[in-house]
């Protein structure tokens, strides 16, 4: 790899969209990835890895259905472990995609245009993967539909006052919302693919998906109105959904869980890991598909700054957790906090500080925000660190209860690790298929941005 690709150009000298990018050029570049795919060896290799891991997930699920949750290392007292850590980790990654898309739409930021599509796709796939875990954890997963309120012959309703039911509604709403948000923004680009496809099968395929979009002025008006409203709903939705996830913990009266800090703390963590995943995917797509004109050094620099900001919020939350435990004076809370510092899982606790906060601080140096290896390392460390944080919160809340008779360790089994690795594979598989079959950048927003730039440039020359 040439040295130039490892160090990005200076962000302040880089326009948000390359100066030579025209509406037609953008359209052709994005469409060609889908319609005239070059033989990309890395894509096939990644697909092979993703398929192998997804196969591992399928085997794990089959074995789980056959033998039950006993194949995992969970037991009393640590009755929640990998499954719930995986669930929270994946849904949190999704949050970052929705937030970055919705918030940047509302603030009218130009740099949204290049990243919102794959960030939203990432959200959708992450939520799909996360939704598997609470179901698999149920014990009898084939009865998961009992969570849904429907008039059954047993005359039994869900427990409306339980945070588990709240969380079920949150996941359901979030999954359907992100699917609609993503699809509505995708419609004009599907029409572009329909108009540019040469084979009849593809014309019909994309034509059906495009739902008859013609680019009429009135269609644009309705779509713009809807996207504004959905963006305005998406931002509070992100906060509410991840607060519900946090309430799964804080509604329980366990030291280390029973805290009003949890909802905002979880939202901050969700944005942190979600932004890290968006950065990781941006760097991969940029290099893998040569999208340097559209995903520029400016985008990467902005995302790195966002990570820096969320890492500081995380540091505040970590510090506030320690402070409230000692300030509150509850013996159980203090014991749990001390167990985190020096107990059996202290290595996990301190790893979260290193991965989520300490490592991110290198991004204060502008040169580090231009270095691709540093950014990749930071993004991966955050993703690992955020998984460890969820694992740490779950296990340290459970393994040393208030009475020593309920103390016990958690050790993962092969199937715990296989299910986690398999979930990464399933996410990779969905994302790889997405970049192969659908436009990964929002062509219509980039066209509009290019036209706006051209108009400003013409205005400057004239003026």
């Amino acid at each position: 790899m040439p040295a130039g690709t490892l160090l990005l150009p200076l962000p302040r000298l880089t326009p948000m969209l390359a100066a030579h990018a025209t509406p037609a050029g953008i359209t052709d570049a994005v469409c060609d990835i889908v319609l005239q795919p070059a033989a990309r060896r890395w894509w096939w290799m990644a697909l092979g890895v993703a398929l192998a891991l997804t196969g591992l997930l399928a085997a794990s699920i089959f074995w789980l259905l056959y033998r039950g949750v006993g194949i995992w290392g969970l037991n009393i007292p640590v009755a929640w472990s990998f499954a719930i850590a995986n669930y929270v980790w994946w849904i949190a990654i999704g949050m970052g995609g929705t937030f970055i898309s919705g918030a940047l739409y509302l603030t009218g930021s130009d740099w949204r245009a290049a990243i919102n599509r794959y960030a939203e796709a990432m959200t959708l796939f992450a939520v799909c993967v996360s939704g598997l875990f609470p179901i698999l954890h149920l014990g009898r997963p084939w009865f998961f539909y009992w969570l849904f309120p429907y008039p059954d012959t047993m005359n039994v309703w869900p427990q409306w006052r339980s945070s588990l039911f709240w969380d079920f509604t949150a996941i359901l709403a979030y999954l359907l919302f992100s699917a609609m948000y993503w699809y509505c923004g995708l419609i004009p680009d599907l029409a572009t693919l329909r108009d540019r496809a040469r084979s009849r099968r593809r014309q019909v395929f994309y034509g059906l998906l495009a739902l008859g979009w013609r680019g009429e002025a009135r269609q644009w008006r309705q779509l713009q109105r809807l996207m504004l409203l959905l963006a305005a709903l998406a931002v509070p939705l992100v906060f509410s959904v991840h607060s519900m996830v946090a309430l799964d913990f804080s509604e329980a009266i366990l030291p280390g869980w029973h805290s009003t800090l949890f909802p905002p703390f979880f939202v901050a963590g969700a944005l942190h890991s979600g932004f890290a995943m968006v950065l990781l995917l941006s760097l991969c797509l940029r290099a893998g598909f040569g999208l340097h004109d559209m995903i520029t050094a400016r985008h990467v620099d902005n995302m790195a700054r966002l990570l820096l900001a969320t890492s500081l919020v995380m540091a505040y939350c970590y510090a506030a957790e320690i402070f409230t435990a000692f300030y509150g004076g509850d013996a159980g809370e203090i014991a749990t906090t001390q167990a985190r510092f020096t107990g059996a899982y202290a290595w996990v606790y301190w790893s979260t500080w290193v991965c989520n906060i300490a490592a991110v601080q290198v991004l204060w140096w502008p040169r580090m925000r231009r270095s691709v290896p540093v950014l990749l390392a930071v993004a991966v460390l955050i993703l690992v660190g955020m998984w460890l944080e969820r694992f740490m919160l779950i296990v340290t809340g459970l393994y040393q209860g208030v009475v020593p008779s309920s103390w016990g360790m958690f050790y993962p089994t092969f199937w715990d690790l296989a299910t986690l690795a398999g979930s990464v594979g399933l996410f990779m598989l969905l994302f790889l298929l997405f970049v192969r079959w659908l436009p990964m950048l929002s062509m219509h927003e980039l066209r509009r941005l290019a036209a706006k730039r051209a108009r400003h440039a013409a205005g400057e020359e004239a003026g």
Binding site: A173, Y174, L176, A191, L226, M244, L247, H444
Partner: protein, 181 residues
């Protein structure tokens, strides 16, 4: 081509501002059955064609939000108070604060469903065939082309479209073509 086989006349324009000017000129000349097509939303074109009186999508979203919120509350109240009341240490059956989280999530969900379905209907989508697609050049409308379509059923087109043709050319159209029905 016979009159019945003509849907209207389509003209292509250089850029967004030419499209905007052409639509303004057509509206000023009294044409009402006009459509404009562009590869990205062009400010002012939709407002010229149809002044924004009120925003139906916003009202649909509000309606969906209210239905989601009160519908979820009603379901929880019905199940807890009427269908399966459980007296646990005399606690209230209709414990509405605990019903709010699910109601909040359903507010978001139903607002989005109403908005998305409403947009599809209001934007006259789900219509897979349209006469505009008969123009070969029209595929550029989703890439970098700007088009105006004047329908034949416009009262101003009674003379067979000679005047609309002239007007479109005068508005600096790159090309004008007849659209087969």
């Amino acid at each position: 081509m016979t009159d019945a086989a003509v849907y209207g006349w389509m003209a292509e324009f250089q850029d967004a501002s030419a499209l905007r000017d052409a639509v303004r000129q057509l509206r000023a000349a009294g044409y009402s059955h006009v459509e404009a097509y562009s590869p990205f939303p062009v400010d002012g074109v939709a407002d010229t064609l149809q002044p924004p009186t009120f925003n139906p999508v916003a009202w649909l979203v509000l309606l969906g939000a209210l239905m989601g919120f009160f519908g979820a509350l009603l379901l929880q109240w019905y199940a807890s108070v009427l269908a399966y009341p459980l007296n646990i240490a005399g606690r209230p059956l209709a414990s509405w604060p605990a019903f709010l989280p699910a109601a909040l999530e359903m507010t978001f969900l139903f607002a989005a469903i109403f908005g998305a379905v409403g947009m599809l209907v209001l934007a006259r989508m789900l219509q897979l065939y349209h006469a505009a697609f008969n123009v070969e050049r029209f595929a550029a409308a989703s890439r970098d082309g700007f088009f105006v379509l004047v329908r034949r059923d416009d009262p101003q087109c009674a003379n067979g479209g000679q005047s609309v043709h002239a007007l479109l050319v005068q508005a600096s159209a790159l090309a004008v073509s007849e659209v087969a029905a």
